[in-house]
Symmetry: C2
Subunit: 331 residues, 2 copies
C-alpha cells in the first residue's frame, strides 16, 4: 500500500486538520468529534441540514458544507459510520429552532446510528427527520446493507434540499422533497480497480488484470458480476440500461445526469464516459437537461465511475440551479 | 491497462465531446481543432488569454476556460504538444484587438509550437506575447525539456493573469505580471505510482511495490531519486525543503500554497498532506495567506502530489481573490 499517510489510525483527523486550514473562512472543524460545520451557522429559522458517514468518500460529505447545501457533516473513520454521540452533537449544533433533517445513505451501521442520534436529539428538544437514500440498483442486499445501497443520489438530495432549506422550506417540506429526490433517482457503478483501506493495507477487491466489477459498491462491495474489460461504449450501456429501466425513464422524458468518478479515474475518462452516456440517453429519447461530471462521491483511490439519473420536476431543477457555495460544489 | 476508453486514438476528441455536452452554457468546443473556447468571447478590449498543451493533465487547461481565467485552451493528444495550426486558430479566435498572451509550460515541443504559432499569428496581424512557466525545482533538464519543467505554477499564472486581463490590464502589463508570478513560484512533485498513457497501454514508470519517485515530472519523467515509501510528514518535508530553499523563502514571509493531486490520489490524502505542509511552513516562520488543495494539474491516473509555493505581492493576492467562473475553478 502506497499512500500519503502517517499512522492509519490518524488519517481522518489529520485530513480534517488540513480541511480546517484550507477553508478557515467557510468551515469550522470540531476535531474531537470529527464534525465539519458551516461558519456563521446555524442560520436562524432555517432547517438544519446534516449528513455524514464513513470517511473515504470525499468530497462527500464535508466538501458539501456551506450556504445552499449542508450545515454540518459528521465524519466516521474510513468506511465506518459516525457514532450517535457525534451525530447528536452535530444535530444540536445545527438546530436553529426549525428542526434538523438528516440525510443518510442506506448502510445498516449508518441507519442505526443516525436513528439512535435522532432519538437522543428529540430527548434534547430537537425535532429530527431523516431522509434515507437507497438508489443503487445493482443489488438488493449487500455486505453492509439491508435493501439497496445509498450512493450518488445523496449528492443530488443534499444539493436540492440544501437550496430548498435556504429558501425557507420547513422541516416537513424539506423531508418530503428529500424523499421525492431520493425516490426519483437511480444509480449504478463500475470498478476497474480496487480501493485500498489504509487500516487494511491491501486492496479490498481482488480483480484480475483485465477484470472489472459491474455494480460495485462504494466500499468495494460485490456488484452484479465480474467480467472482462470492454470498450467505454459497452460499459456505458451496462450502466445506462439498468438505471434507465429501473427508473422507468421513457422516451420524451428529461433527466439530470450525474457521472461520478470513484477516486482513481482521470477527468479525461469521465468526460469520455459522459459523452457515451449522453449519446445513449439521446438514442433512448431521454433529454439531458442538467449534468454534473466529476469525482464527488469517491471510494478512496478506486478506479471506476458511477452513473446517477434523476427524473427532475420543475422545483427540483430550480433548486438544483440555485446558488451553492461549498468547497466542492459552487455556482 | 484498464481505462474507460474506446480506441486510444480517439480519447481526446471523445473526452472533448463530453466537455462540450457538460458545459454548453460556458464552453464552445471546436472538435476538429481541439480547442475549448469561452462562450461569448472574445471580449472587446480585453487581452486574449490562451494556454494549452498535451491532454492528460485535466482540468488543466480546458477546465480553466471562462471569465476571470483563460479565453481558450488548445488540447494536444495525450502528453503531446498541440500543433502550430491549432494554436494559431485559437490566437485568432481570442484576439479582440488587445493582443494575445500565451501561457506555455516549459516543454521543448510546446515551446517550439507556441513560438511558431506566435510568428504565424503576428503575420496575420495579431500581437502575441508569451509567458513561459518553468517552476519545477526537481531537475535542471529532463526527458522533454531543456531547463526546468513547467508544472503547478501554470495554474497560478492562469488565475492571476486571468483576473488582471479581466480588469483591463494591457498586453505588456499582463505579460510582465505573468512573468512575475512564474518567477515567484516554485514546485516539486512525488509519485507513489505511475500513470498509464492509453496509447502505450502500460505504466510509464516502473516503480517497485514500496518505491516512490521524488521530483517526478507530470509525464512520469524521472525526478531526483527513487526511495522507499515514508510517512506523509517525511514526504512533505522532502517537498517543502527544496521548494522553500529554491524560492529563498525566509522567516516572516508569506506564501500562497497550492497542494495538487496528480490524478490517482484521494482528497483525504491531499488534505492530510496539506496539513503537514502547512505545519512545516509555520515552523519555518512562513505565513500561509492563501491555499488551493485539489487535483488541478494531473498526470492521468498517477498517484502522487505536487507542492507549489508562490511568494505573492498585494496585486497578485487581489487578482487571486478576484471572481473566477470556470468548470474547475470558481469563486
Amino acid at each position: 500500500m502506497k499512500k500519503f499517510i502517517n499512522d492509519p489510525a490518524d488519517v481522518v483527523v489529520e485530513a480534517l486538520q488540513g480541511v480546517a486550514l484550507a477553508h478557515p473562512d467557510r468551515l469550522r472543524v470540531d476535531l474531537e468529534r470529527q464534525l465539519v460545520l458551516r461558519v456563521g451557522g446555524p442560520v436562524p429559522g432555517k432547517v438544519g441540514l446534516l449528513s455524514g458517514g464513513g470517511a473515504g468518500h470525499e468530497p462527500l460529505h464535508s466538501g458539501f458544507v456551506g450556504p445552499g447545501m449542508l450545515d454540518a457533516a459528521c465524519c466516521g473513520q474510513v468506511f465506518t459510520s459516525p457514532v450517535p454521540d457525534q451525530i447528536l452533537a452535530a444535530a444540536i449544533a445545527v438546530d436553529a429552532g426549525a428542526g434538523v433533517l438528516q440525510i443518510v445513505k442506506n448502510y445498516t451501521g449508518d441507519v442505526l446510528n443516525f436513528e439512535m442520534a435522532a432519538e437522543l436529539a428529540e430527548g434534547e428538544g430537537v425535532r429530527v427527520r431523516t431522509v434515507l437514500v437507497a438508489d443503487d440498483v445493482a443489488v438488493e442486499d449487500s455486505l453492509f446493507t439491508a435493501g439497496r445501497r445509498g450512493v450518488g443520489a445523496t449528492v443530488l438530495v443534499e444539493k436540492i434540499v440544501g437550496a430548498a432549506a435556504e429558501d425557507g422550506l420547513d422541516l416537513d417540506a424539506c423531508t418530503a422533497l428529500g424523499e421525492q429526490v431520493a425516490g426519483a433517482s437511480r444509480s449504478m457503478g463500475i470498478a476497474l480497480g480496487s480501493c485500498t483501506v489504509p487500516a487494511a493495507g491491501r486492496p479490498t477487491v481482488d480483480l484480475g488484470p483485465d477484470e472489472i466489477e459491474i455494480g460495485v459498491g462504494i466500499h468495494g462491495e460485490p456488484g452484479r458480476r465480474r467480467q472482462a474489460l470492454a470498450p467505454a461504449r459497452e460499459l456505458a450501456a451496462q450502466l445506462v440500461e439498468p438505471v434507465v429501466e429501473d427508473l422507468e425513464l421513457r422516451r420524451g422524458e428529461r433527466a439530470l445526469v450525474f457521472l461520478n468518478g470513484l477516486g482513481g479515474t482521470p477527468q479525461l475518462e469521465l468526460y469520455l464516459m459522459f459523452h457515451e452516456v449522453h449519446r445513449q440517453l439521446k438514442e433512448r429519447g431521454v433529454d439531458v437537461v442538467r449534468s454534473l461530471v466529476g469525482s464527488f462521491l469517491t471510494s478512496l483511490d478506486m478506479a471506476g465511475c458511477s452513473l446517477t439519473l434523476l427524473r427532475p420536476d420543475e422545483p427540483m431543477l430550480r433548486w438544483w440551479d440555485a446558488p451553492v457555495d461549498t468547497p466542492a460544489l459552487r455556482w
